[in-house]
Symmetry: C2
Subunit: 631 residues, 2 copies
Amino acid sequence: MIKIALGQFEIKPGHPDLNTNRMLEMIQSAKESKADLIVFPEMAIPGYLIGDTWEQNAFLRDCEYYGKKIIAASDTIAIMFGNIAVDWTKKNTDGRVRKYNAFFTAYKKNLIQSPASPYPFIIKTLQPNYRAFDEERHFFSLPKLADELKTDIADLTSPIDLCLNEQTLRIGCLLCEDAWSDDYTFTPLALINKNHDVDLFINISNSPYTLGKNNKRNRVFSSHAKSNNAPFIYVNNIGIQNNGKTIYTFDGSSTVYDANGKIIAMNEPYTNQLNIVGIPLEGEPSLPAIKVNEDTDIANIYTALRYGIKNFLQDIHMEKVVIGISGGIDSAVAAALYASILPPENVLLVNMPSIYNSNTTKDLAQDLAKNLKCLYTIMPIQDSVDTTVNQIKTTPIQNLSNNTTFYLDVSSFVTENIQARDRSARVLAGIAASFGGGFTCNANKSETTVGYSTLYGDQSGFLAALADLWKFQIYDLAYYLNQVIYKREVIPQETIDIVPSAELSSNQCVDEGKGDPIKYPYHDYLFRAFCEHWNRATPEDILTWYKEDLLEEKLSCEKGLIQKYFSTNKEFIDDLERWWNLYSGIAVAKRIQAPPILAISRRAYGFDHREAQNGAYYTAQYRALKKELLK
Amino acid sequence: MIKIALGQFEIKPGHPDLNTNRMLEMIQSAKESKADLIVFPEMAIPGYLIGDTWEQNAFLRDCEYYGKKIIAASDTIAIMFGNIAVDWTKKNTDGRVRKYNAFFTAYKKNLIQSPASPYPFIIKTLQPNYRAFDEERHFFSLPKLADELKTDIADLTSPIDLCLNEQTLRIGCLLCEDAWSDDYTFTPLALINKNHDVDLFINISNSPYTLGKNNKRNRVFSSHAKSNNAPFIYVNNIGIQNNGKTIYTFDGSSTVYDANGKIIAMNEPYTNQLNIVGIPLEGEPSLPAIKVNEDTDIANIYTALRYGIKNFLQDIHMEKVVIGISGGIDSAVAAALYASILPPENVLLVNMPSIYNSNTTKDLAQDLAKNLKCLYTIMPIQDSVDTTVNQIKTTPIQNLSNNTTFYLDVSSFVTENIQARDRSARVLAGIAASFGGGFTCNANKSETTVGYSTLYGDQSGFLAALADLWKFQIYDLAYYLNQVIYKREVIPQETIDIVPSAELSSNQCVDEGKGDPIKYPYHDYLFRAFCEHWNRATPEDILTWYKEDLLEEKLSCEKGLIQKYFSTNKEFIDDLERWWNLYSGIAVAKRIQAPPILAISRRAYGFDHREAQNGAYYTAQYRALKKELLK
């Protein structure tokens, strides 16, 4: 039995000084608890998502400096931690200095080296380059080093020997992705275990929360432990990290799997926690399995959103928010969500009616504010909108090449967008600055997918906390907030029941049931196929499935919807092309200028889902299919 | 002598159908001109910057389909072209289908294979992963394949034998980065030439314009030709490509270097051009060198800007623009630039004075409009700004937890930003929609670096065409527009002479010489060191250079400025920290929501310069230095 402390802590990316202080505190506690070894996450000192800060040599030297402080603290305890490792004598493939994503083991103030490695640290073998991950951009991977040294990669990954508590343990060291090798040419676990009898695997990670990922990890890592007949310890960090456009939460959930693959310890998610676990080694009696909560999806989502928002507000030093509430579902959910995080006097709800807003929604906005007991105000926009429309219509435009003048016309569509911008860029931005806070963007993922929003209008704000949730998840969250968080109807049931509508013209009247052009029960799933499916669906795929009557099954939407919504092939195709054109066209332009999005799904817009403003494209096969179906 | 056609054409990224049609037209012309071989750029069929569209299998199949059309056209001419190559039986490291960035050679309707390669195409060896490049994210590189096959990489890169005009040529095939190997472990040129006597090297590229890159390429590629004693042909595309946040121009400039390294042919930059060149082979008389224009920097910049703007407008189907003109330098340059691209009746200039705008600048705006003979209007904002300020100040805020009310105060700083948003999000956006166009963002790189702008105000627009130019380059461009493009003073000299000022408060009065807080002659160069220097400078580097009296030299700014601007160490440090805090803090938040930026420099903001919203950081060494200097 050895006592291992799982050092799950909140990493502040780009702040080695703060991270090191937290680590030193945890090391002190672990020493006091007589732990043999303390393990910290991958990149514990620098943090992980720091953009191109890796190109600042002063920052790299600083990480080395703080790394030495951690090593110096290893007098009476072994310490494992992730840090950037720099070889100042060699080049990266970008021509800058050589950097490794490295796993350090320090004991008695010395680093412990793997026998055949040229360096006193273990180098990451598998570097992810999908979603938000850009490791090849900055770090030199172990396969590249093996090539350069003309060495067998297995020699460079061999386990380290660590003498703890009077026994020598052979430890296999893994960095995050190294234990997720299904899609790679190398299988680090097999390489490590090739010629060695590993006593224990330790995986240090810096792994963002993604809906459904924890269940999968438990399956994969449990199987690693079992098939290698050795305990497997996973240490992950908490906190939030971002790459500008996309903000990730890190849930920690550090876990110990015993040699049978049983989970015998798990840190609380999203909690700073030094968890000291006695690990039974070969021949020692095993510990009972612990129960792992299978939270419902929406509870997990709420926890991640709450943590992400709370931490983001702290990081940008924002204590107050302003939320425009229309009486509709998205802004109501945003209000209830923020009001569950901030004190009510720091949440200012603003209703901004024009002539197109119904008494129904105005009353619902007021009810919501009362239920949440937040600050509330009503700032009508009609006068200002009229002023803008009149100013544009009545100010002469001079043509200076022929000295004539003319006037611009303002269409009703243009007036819709003027209203949206008046609300956000004029009222909310002005109020937020006066109130000393920021204003929120309440967009959901469905409208973000097709740009059903106004730039500098409802598409603006300091954070789009709900923009990785489909409309059906917004409704789920509404129920969850009422039933579980508030335990009363803070979001009025009528807000849930009315048709979702922008109320920007007389064609969008909720009382007459005139709502959004998005048919959420179908389009939520269609849009999801465009952006979240593993093999991204295009009109060619959709039309093929439609033709083969497989569409509802492939999209996992309700049966019968296609027939309900579309009576002819032409109607179906027109609808498909309408949304695909928007998704690939103007919606990209809007996403380029959208606020940061809090990531929940396996594919969030922004840096996670990279895109170019190249316009819609239809393959030759799609065009042939379409022709056939329209014959 | 063989006749090679350099197929330099405008690639439309993400549109294989259009690209293939253009290629087929050029192939037809080349056949009519009896060329032996036609060479197209890298990724000629799909285009290169297409975000994660590579994850759409339907798109990949479409690229294969169009590739076959090109191969079918090779009956009487050899064709070399770049395309994505898919191995549907293997996996990429992201778990999706295996994709190669490939170089195809087709002749007599067959593909010509390199002897030891398992595929009928050449695979890119060096995949760039810096700046805007993300090749490891999608493409499986040749070194990885060599590892997988346990083959020597040299075997996989061996030249192809192509029998043309009754002689067999041994051709070394390179994809773009393969010829820029200084920073890599592999040197493809050396590998190709290892056991073979190569007659000719052909490099197909998809290489964006960067200020100063063409001169460097001519040095490097000329040296390749000379040291290998073989002609070297470089074929690059034209057009624009983007990855959302950043837009690149591609200048083509396809070039033929003879076996002595002399440039014997070069395509016109930014021009669709089938250039048919007779290439002297070993023993044949050499051709005279052609003169390569060494354009001045600002002429190059103007050409790139003009081309980029013109093409971007076409791509997004925008024919008209609205430009807010203040009488200041940035908007004047923007107006003169756009007016040199679009007909004057499609350019609407708008002056939007408040009480803080001087007669000086109002008159200058009018003079500019008259000089350019564009459309012009004056839409004052003071009434609307007063309305907004009053509405916010006089509307009661209800506290629904205790049923009290209070009022918000609107500070003069908040009023500054209200003015900026009123101009852009209210007036310009409304006018642009009514006019049927977009409005421009006139921000330069200096203010973009430190966020000296208002979000949803002057930071907004459909394109930030000048945001990769430092303030000194804006002035250079003003002179260039007057002297070379218009050959008269369209930008009034007084606009160039007055202090740059936002005119948003009485503290920013141009008539009293009260301008921006940015001291451009020094800060332009300081900011450039933060973001454009190869090893990115941080306060630690700046303070070290300051202490050692090396700062002006390291920054390449004017001598004597530091002494002129700062009388004490404290003043210097306060200034440094002020800008570093902004650069790493609020400016990141603003850049996240900024419009796309047209890239000119070696490091443009956006996708080229990745960053996280992590706040400012100061290294331990910086803090020690600062302490020492403030002692």
